[in-house]
Subunit: 218 residues, 3 copies
């Protein structure tokens, strides 16, 4: 019952977001000695991993079981990566835009599904962030890297900011479809600004702990 | 109500498959500075990880909670690995056969459990592949390697082929026990042929993407 | 309806345990080029990961969705790590004590929740061990290390021993609150003794398997 699931152009953005997420998985898998099937799975996990974890936590059926379009879109992404390779990535800005729109959309879908289950707003915000960003974390675990999310850019924080904006709108009794649009645009705006101006959180420096070490690591 | 869960020899193959899966986990854990308990856990995750994820996705109780035999079989596998070491692996061909039979069996169990829940056939096929192959992926994540599944051999694809064969049989109204047998043999046959003739999917070569990089990684 | 959830001092130990678990995640994340947000997430996963997996397996709502105190405590842990750094870790012994009390408490919470769901005692013991120790495993996977749990000390085994003691008490019809106290103290005692005297399980040596290799890895 949300603009996100009703309007046709949302379906298009959903697929574009899925495509861009899958491509990011396939791209990071390349050069890791991974075969086509592995690349497909890593692309798929990137695209549907966040929503699947959300659905497991909400105790509802994983969304992709009801509709094969996510698996097919990932297949199209793999095909595109195989056929166009470097050419595909020359459209880096376009892909980044899809990825960012996907992030905004996935976040709102996550919030909206959690609201339907009747969760408190702070849990909904977390579910939005999990929907948007956990796929990338699983992708990095599978290709054996420390998740990019922990090291770079503003990503999950953009989801959280969008979630907060959503509930501010809610508080001011703004209609649900409009709230969703404003929240999604917030995610997209923050993400673009963060990448454009290289905004990053400070790195946590090494904690030197002779005492703790003595106790625990010997 | 399937041949897989009824017939006695299926129980034997189930345990032999579990044993072989556990041994593959314990073997890969060895030489990674892992202690006996760690080896047991990695063996266990290899053996029951796929079925556990399937049951989480299907929203049913994890299968191993109803029957201690999987935990006990893994314990026997650890004992065998400690006592017989190299000797055990001289029976490499036998272990490989158990592993492959296990793969076929686990795939069918996954499909059959998903059918019981009323899922569409393409989801059942995926559940069969998850049941058969996710344990090995979790094993590789735990020992900090890029999953073998993504890099080598035909493994999950054999599960998927078996699943497709199952539904072709179904379409032709072949009796369920017979369909299951044919599908399991398909998985086993493809896996053996793939290993015998070193069949592999092509590797995804590095995608060089100056544009994308410029946008995302700086 | 357990002493663990009723008595006030249990709530305090719950938060101290959460704090110590979060600190262990944040400490291991430091020096890995991880930013503040990443450190928060890794601390959070360390603190709530075990209980979340338990709740997924038990098919109940993840515990942290009902109470924001776990997320807030993790935030306090991050703040403490940023503000006090080395100073914080000079209290290594105190942190270790919190961590160990947390381990004992989390184990009993896991067992008690599983009993409420009506699981057999051996599954309850496993759920106790998962509650106490899986957070640390997920932490290590996220920072791209082979889990410490597999390599060092007696950790999950202390949880299992505590679980066995719990059911021995149960068998002798000792009152539930007293059983819980005895079981928690068992976990704490074994863990402290293991660290104090550097007790460790034997390491699984490399298994050299030319035959197996020939069959599977070429």
């Amino acid at each position: 019952m949300t603009i996100i699931s009703d309007v046709n152009f949302t379906i298009i953005f959903d697929l574009l977001g899925t495509f861009a997420f899958a491509i990011s998985g396939i791209k990071l898998a390349s050069g890791k000695n991974i075969d086509w099937f592995g690349a497909y799975i890593i692309g798929l996990v990137t695209a549907i991993g966040g929503g699947t974890m959300r659905d497991l936590l909400l105790d509802v059926n994983p969304f992709w079981m009801h509709d094969a379009k996510y698996l097919i879109t990932t297949g199209v992404a793999l095909l595109a990566a195989l056929l166009f390779k470097e050419k595909l990535f020359k459209w880096g800005n376009t892909l980044f835009l899809f990825d960012t729109i996907g992030l905004g959309l996935f976040t709102i879908v996550g919030i909206s599904k959690s609201l339907d289950v009747g969760l408190p707003f702070w849990v909904c915000i977390i579910m939005g962030a999990i929907t948007g960003s956990l796929g990338g974390v699983l992708r990095d675990v599978l290709i054996n890297e420390v998740p990019l999310l922990f090291r770079k850019d503003i990503y999950a924080l953009a989801c959280i900011a969008g979630g907060i904006v959503y509930f501010v709108c809610y508080k001011f009794e703004i209609l649900s479809p409009l709230s969703e649009l404003i929240a999604a645009l917030t995610v997209i705006f923050i993400r673009i600004v963060a990448v454009k101006f290289h905004l990053q959180l400070p790195i946590l420096s090494t904690i030197n702990d002779k005492h703790y070490k003595k106790q625990n690591d010997e």
